[in-house]
Symmetry: C2
Amino acid sequence: MKIGLLGSGNVGQTLGTKLVQLGHDVMMGSRDSANPKGISWAKKEGHHALYGTFMNAAAFGEIIINSTLGSASIDALRQAGIENLKGKILIDTANPLDYSTKNWTLTVCNSDSLGEQIQRTFPEALVVKTLNTMYCDVMIDPRKLSEKTDVFVSGNDTEAKATVIAMLRDWFGWKSVIDLGDITTSRSVEMFVLLWHTLRDVGSSPRFNIKVVS
Amino acid sequence: MKIGLLGSGNVGQTLGTKLVQLGHDVMMGSRDSANPKGISWAKKEGHHALYGTFMNAAAFGEIIINSTLGSASIDALRQAGIENLKGKILIDTANPLDYSTKNWTLTVCNSDSLGEQIQRTFPEALVVKTLNTMYCDVMIDPRKLSEKTDVFVSGNDTEAKATVIAMLRDWFGWKSVIDLGDITTSRSVEMFVLLWHTLRDVGSSPRFNIKVVS
């Protein structure tokens, strides 16, 4: 599958490398087509890994993954081009975090969320929020943890969510995926990230996740 | 031990009954000393269960538990009387929820929290935020769940937190208590409640909790 991956940070690089290893063709995109992080990633990962602008990556992908910084995501997606997102699944892994203070805060929360903002701004994209509740190493290999844990999906399009749930299972080995409902449930998972951050601060490693136990 | 329990709703009644069963003397308080819910609770639970105003309950308790509605907590604690909270452990189980819309929202979040507001308003109380991340049946008996799960504590006073951690273990059977840090970490656990609510909506029962897995 051809995947357009927006963002060249830790999450983008980790997802991109895993997806190339799985046999996909991945174009990573960022603001600047001369971004050395993106260029060196593509070089390292071989001929199934490409690099370009947000627009190049979005035009390339049959599906799109947004792994940009949450505070920059809407702008990045605008650069990607509304016509390049139309009708495509847009997996949103971003969190609208402001890291400038010791206690992280969200730039949008409570009665709105980044997931909703993206869906509203690009109404013809099929936005599925997922994977934003854990560290990137755990995203691509949940079996590294000592027990089966949960990943969440939020989105308005049932078929798109079903496709993403299958991808989470087949690509990364997620056996327990909880469908939270429509895109408004992005609020819940984005607001959870502050607890994730607090747990990371008191724990020994960012490699953890939560499991819902009944 | 003499416990002053503020709030006569589900959480107050569930905690109060359990604490009386454990052999404590519990005075439940609410706004109105003629509140029929409080009076019938005290009658039902026998002579170790008392009922009165917020002020009566706070004056009675060696420790205080705030289980009022979060949106009314500061006012309830003012009625309890600053002098009745001074130097005492104040366990805060409340969430600042606005239930008026389908998607619950918080009345304070992100850069502040109810736990912090209480600590700021009553600086001589030893505020420990805990138990706000689960349904009341789970608070008092985590062993009902199929696996060991986690409860969190937040607070500025290390000794008060250690006392509360021991109480959580001895009173209710909590074996895994995660100390998140100072009272600012109340933000994390209060904001988590929206994910709790979403999970409750998609699940079959409110009787669940999360487990941190590494």
